[in-house]
């Protein structure tokens, strides 16, 4: 499991998970799950286009995920965001279908772009992933105050001069960056699971934002590590484990929160017991 050919896998997963955990925290807070699904899925068309033109997949993904983010932002000016997202997504996918009809791309390559190929990460992929990851985290740190404010209380943010629309576009671009870096590794569809399940679980455990973000990173890391280990042992696709573990972590978080609520009125003696149970 820790053989030399697996080292890159562990390294890349350890970079991807914190980014997904941090960006995902705001995805859940802002209710942006649909864009977070649409941008990676639509960016897949960029990979197909890159294959057609013979340029780097990462470039194709980056261009299309940025186009997707801007497209959602542009269409969203005059329509509900979910409608704008749906239309931008189908347009990108339609382009992807047109590109694919022109290439002789192998079926397994499409599969790995969609569902990830963590077990075949090369050392040359490591640096761009790390750089984009650092850029995402840096952007979130810079945006942290206005982003939190406009996510939690949009009216107050507007009153203080934080433009909701501008923040929305900036945030979508961060999601696009996170997408471009993670798609070749964990796949267009699974980065979404990782951006939703762990942060949602973390938010049901605590209402303090920084703690929730840290928890979200930890849960995302554990999810990815367990998924890789399980995938290595059972030889099933890593995407299956990431997807189901993310959903299970959310279910566990909700269950734990409900259990705590129902015992909130009970004696304080129950609490240490509960902590022990959860550990």
């Amino acid at each position: 499991m820790f053989a030399s050919f697996m080292i890159n896998t562990w390294a890349v997963a350890t970079i991807v998970a914190p980014v997904a955990g941090v960006v995902g925290f705001f995805v859940v807070l802002r209710g942006s799950a649909f864009p977070a699904h649409a941008i990676p899925k639509g960016a897949f068309a960029g990979a197909a286009g890159a294959a057609l033109l013979g340029i780097s997949t990462l470039l194709g993904l980056a261009v299309f995920s940025l186009l997707g983010a801007l497209g959602i932002g542009f269409l969203g000016r005059r329509a509900r965001q979910d409608v704008a997202t749906a239309l931008a997504l189908v347009m990108m996918l339609a382009l992807g279908a047109a590109f694919l009809s022109r290439t002789t791309e192998y079926e397994p390559e499409i599969y790995s772009l969609l569902f990830g190929e963590v077990l075949g990460v090369s050392t040359t992929q490591l640096l761009p992933v790390a750089a984009l990851g650092a850029a995402c985290i840096a952007a979130i740190i810079v945006l942290y105050r206005p982003l939190s404010l406009s996510s939690a209380v949009p009216e107050i943010a507007e009153a203080r001069g934080v433009s909701g629309r501008r923040i929305e576009i900036c945030f979508l671009i961060v999601v696009a960056l996170a997408t471009a870096m993670t798609v070749p590794v964990v796949g267009a569809l699974l980065i979404f699971s990782l951006m939703i399940g762990p942060p949602a679980a973390a938010r049901s455990l605590t209402s303090r934002p920084v703690l929730a973000m840290l928890l979200s990173v930890v849960i995302a890391l554990v999810t990815v590590w367990v998924a890789i280990a399980a995938s290595y042992e059972v030889n099933w696709p890593v995407g299956f484990f990431v997807g189901t573990l993310s959903a299970l972590s959310y279910a566990a978080g909700r269950g734990w929160a409900a259990w705590q609520r129902s015992h909130a009125t009970a004696a304080a003696a129950v609490v240490p017991h509960a902590v022990a149970r959860s550990a």
């Binding site: 749906a86 347009m91 279908a97 997807g243």
Partner: protein, 303 residues
Amino acid sequence: MHQLLTWIVEPGFLASAPVRTAALIGGIVAVVSAIAGVFTVMRGQSFAGHALGDVAAAGGSGALLIGLTPLTGFLGLGIIGAGTMDLIGVQRVRGRDLATGIVLGAAIGLTALFLYLDTTASATTGATQQVLFGSIFTTTSTTIPVITAFSLLATGVIAVIWRPLLLATVSPDIAAARGVPVRLVGVAYLVTLAIAVALSSLTIGAILSTALLIGPAATALRLTRRTGTALLAACVTGVAATWAGILLAYDSYYWGAAREGLPVSFFIVAVIFTAYLLAGCRKAARPRDAAPADDAARDQAAA
């Protein structure tokens, strides 16, 4: 004149059996999607409408594995997905996005596994592409009765719950005050949506399923604020876009020297997208501007 006509419609278009089947199935699915779509757009459930297609597709790839028909898998998991979304909290606007996301994430994980097992267990090549894109030209005419039956069922349910659904969509509070079981209506609608989306993503593919659900409805709601008119306009837009797309895809085979057509899904989406943008121009030209929901509310109050 004849030359112009043959230039628009390449020879053999109307005589081709796959084209006629595609036009018929595409037309039926476009109508059902448009009807369900108007409520989906008004209720702000586009994400669920898109996600249910992916969830249903997971059922499709799972059904291949245990030897059930894809239709059973699509419908089964679509309905289970809708139920789970409701359980997690799709009925509250704030929880809606998250509930859909969690169900979708889990379904994608399952799809990854099922597709992997499908391709290793048997030589089901093209399964990934089929799930992601689908194709209107690969549907056979034998599926028409089943599709028609389920389409009628979905349309029938919407017709039956029409009044309470409209009221619950426009103003859940007033609906609740008037004794409308808002949550029950919501579940009934979501299950209907799941059936419609499962059918469309099975027959015409995931891209077109979402495109035909959201595109024509959003276009229609930009043009008119009356729900009834919007429904009609959405149906017309959906069917017209489908047929125009099929025609263009057929013609595109003759465009280049290479004799390679472009996929039909590309053309249908392009037509719908253009229609949506054009409808936006018209709306921008009119100063009177209000949310479509306002007019629906007035309809409801007048009734």
